[in-house]
Symmetry: C2
Subunit: 235 residues, 2 copies
Amino acid sequence: MQNIRALLFDVFGTVVDWRSSIIDEGAEINRCKNLNVNWADFVDEWRGLYQPSMEAVRTGKRPWTILDVLHRESLDQLMQKYQIIGWTEAEIVHLNNAWHRLTPWPDSSEGLYRLKKKYTIGTCSNGNVALIVDMAKHSDLPWDMVLGAEVTGHYKKQPEAYLTSVEMLGLTPEQVVMVAAHNDDLYAAEALGLKTAFVARATEYGPHQKKDLVAEKEWNYVASDFLDLAAQLNA
Amino acid sequence: MQNIRALLFDVFGTVVDWRSSIIDEGAEINRCKNLNVNWADFVDEWRGLYQPSMEAVRTGKRPWTILDVLHRESLDQLMQKYQIIGWTEAEIVHLNNAWHRLTPWPDSSEGLYRLKKKYTIGTCSNGNVALIVDMAKHSDLPWDMVLGAEVTGHYKKQPEAYLTSVEMLGLTPEQVVMVAAHNDDLYAAEALGLKTAFVARATEYGPHQKKDLVAEKEWNYVASDFLDLAAQLNA
């Protein structure tokens, strides 16, 4: 543990509760616009288009494209499907930017402040820089820096997303802990030599979540939340 | 002013007093190692090699190389010239990392905290990410993000260093203020459409400073320090 200098965090699901946040914004939209959209279904479909949209970039079928743009393309598609029509461009942009306003889990902000006192804390997310920074200011997430997809030009789980982030920290992989609520993120990080921390977020995908309810292996750290992680890391 | 969303800061000289910081570290080295090096001369020469070392990268004579490495090459050259010999590798690395431990001007930290409440604040420096983040943690500089050279792959005054930073902010150039103690940095930013703020740091180059004592033109903002800048920007 003495060797650890920095923590890199996955963000969607690990730090913030994207599903509830967007359902809440949707409920407000239903009220204001007198709509009857099922926003739980809507957000699950929106998130369902996330991996396929990035895969086109990962495989080189399209040039580097930030997540805000991928989110918008998926949103346009779903608004059509759900027959949500007649919105101004500014209203659509605002809804797309719901991803910039996601609410943290109750322990996230306090846990990050504790960890920041002892370690460098950064993001290694697929979110673009503006998305992560807007969210940080909205939800009091005191990142030392924003790394990950946009600054490395690669989406996770591409190795460069992790390794270039570590390189920008001026550290070696074994000095860095990848923190995620997703086992597959940790398998990828571990294979590259990073240390790993699993934090269960058992309601990320709502009441019927099947995946990532528990750590699938003995990661370097398995914590119930960020405060527990801080305690385990003596922060 | 209503349109301004973010401020990007030059760092060396604008936020931190690199010359005095390194002279102070040198005085400590003279004491501990019983040396008689003139560290004012030494640091002026070290900084003198800064632009030529980046120029080899800018012109494509060498591939992308971070500032820590350029600083180290210059340091090796100067240690030979000043006949500073017999150091361990760890001692040389520590001295090279003096650039990670630079002391802010008296108003820098407080001014940034004020500006951060109202605006996104980031760096647009030639320093690499680890250098800027170590300095931020050492000197309590609450950046929202680290942009500039390493994440854009271009040294100032190359246009990409500014424009890709603005793009990563998700903003247009006219929504961003470049803050610098150097008129040439502001000429470059202005030409690309950014707003400009000059903050005089009249002792950056020591008692005999000839350049950048005053604003060379009516920049959008001309401030005596970061607190004055915060006041002018209603932060």
